[in-house]
Amino acid sequence: MNGSPLVLEPVFFVGPVPITDPVIVTWVLMAVLALGCAILTRRLKLRPSRTQAALELFVTAIDGQLRDIVGGDTAPYRALIGTILVYVLVANWMSIVPGVEPPTAHIETDAALALIVFGATIWFGVRARGAGGYLKTFAEPSWVMIPLNLVEQITRTFSLIVRLFGNVMSGVFVVGIILSLAGLLVPIPLMALELLTGAVQAYIFAVLAAVFIGAAASEGG
């Protein structure tokens, strides 16, 4: 690894577009997830198999969590929040695959996810009470709060980015440093800890996204 590990080196170019590792890993994850889900949900029945029951449990758990956070109908948010959870979780756990860096260990991926959450917050807020109504929420409880509310929109998005990026990147760095210093088996407990950290960070990212979206939507409700 030459230079800063935080700087992405293009693997190849598609025209002027540099294709980096996180993008390739994400494409592979997308293919695997989409294919796996297509296979698993190919023959869903009213009398579920074990696999189907597990899938239903997963979706039901997401719905339950969303219902607790957002309330009301969870269907509009299910795909976005569920995908964020699944993708961040799987991406974080890529750290245990040798030679693969988690896409979430690079700030571009985290920023992309945070941008999507930011856009979704605005989208669901506007959809819930219209553009004017949504904008009015920035003047609550008083117009004096408008700058602070605007800053909050930016800072909480940054906090999403930095939290996920810092945790995953630091974990990868720590494991890499330990591996270079101590040898083959020593990083294993740290890698297990990384799995836990990855799961927790995925849950936190998804829940915070739901909270932001739910806050914007419920303000309109």
Binding site: T20, M30, A34, T41, Q52, V59, L80, T83, A111, A112
Partner: protein, 247 residues
């Protein structure tokens, strides 16, 4: 630290595409099957509730039907009991009537048999008395069986109405004089003499022997007869006895 804007853009697009892919291949199918199952469960519950309601309705109907059947059965039993009572009474009355009729018939038969038996007994007694009389008369002199009855015959003829007496021995033919044995000439003459005296003119008689007379004489004309014999007396006596018994 640098941000690769191309990577940022591509990852944004990738994430959005992944949202669509998972929505298409994971969340929507699973949510659909969940809602399908919920709808099916609700339908099953509704069907079960409807079936339970129908079952309860059927049970109520069956209960009502059973009550109706019980009431009908009770009514039929009552009617059957009444009918049985009626038939019993009718049969008893018929049996009583039959018994009365049979008893009356038996009584009548017994009475008839008794009468027949009594008649037979009377006839037998008559025959027995005739036999007794015959036996007794056999002890008497043979003349007494004729001579002792000539006057009585003449009295009988004399006691006849005039027209009857005129008719006897009017010359149209001989009168028949029945006797238990052949008459001797003296006895014949005594008979003729007594008859002439009773009738006032001569008579032509033809003697006929009839041992059944036992003793005595019987005169028979065309339209009248005079009987003065033991047989006639015994027959008269037997007839009187029978009439007395019947009375």
């Amino acid at each position: 630290m640098q941000i690769d804007w191309w990577t940022l853009g591509l990852q944004t697009v990738n994430a959005l595409v992944l949202v669509w892919l998972l929505a298409r291949f994971l969340f929507r199918p699973v949510a659909n099957i969940l809602s399908e199952r919920r709808a099916e469960a609700e339908k099953t519950l509704d069907d079960a509730a409807a079936a339970r309601k129908a079952a309860e309705s059927e049970r109520e109907k069956a209960k009502a039907e059973a009550a109706k059947t019980a009431a009908g059965r009770s009514a039929v039993l009552d009617a059957a009991q009444k009918e049985a009572e009626k038939q019993k009474t009718s049969l008893l009355a018929a049996a009583r009537a039959d018994a009365d009729r049979l008893r009356d018939e038996a009584k009548a038969a017994i009475a008839g048999e008794r009468r027949a038996e009594e008649k037979k007994m009377s006839a037998r007694a008559g025959r027995l008395s005739v036999d007794i009389a015959k036996r007794l008369l056999e002890r008497l002199p043979d003349e007494a069986r004729i001579a002792g009855f000539i006057d009585g015959l003449a009295e009988g003829v004399a006691a006849l109405p005039e027209a009857a007496r005129a008719e006897l021995g009017d010359g149209s033919g001989p009168m028949t004089l029945a006797a238990p044995r052949a008459l001797q000439d003296a006895e014949r003459d005594a008979c003729k003499s007594a008859l002439r005296k009773a009738l006032g003119h001569d008579v032509d008689i033809k003697v006929a022997v009839d041992p059944d007379l036992i003793a005595g004489l019987e005169l028979t004309g065309r339209h009248a007869s005079v009987r003065n014999s033991f047989r006639a007396d015994l027959e008269h006596l037997q007839a009187e006895l029978t009439r007395h018994d019947d009375a």
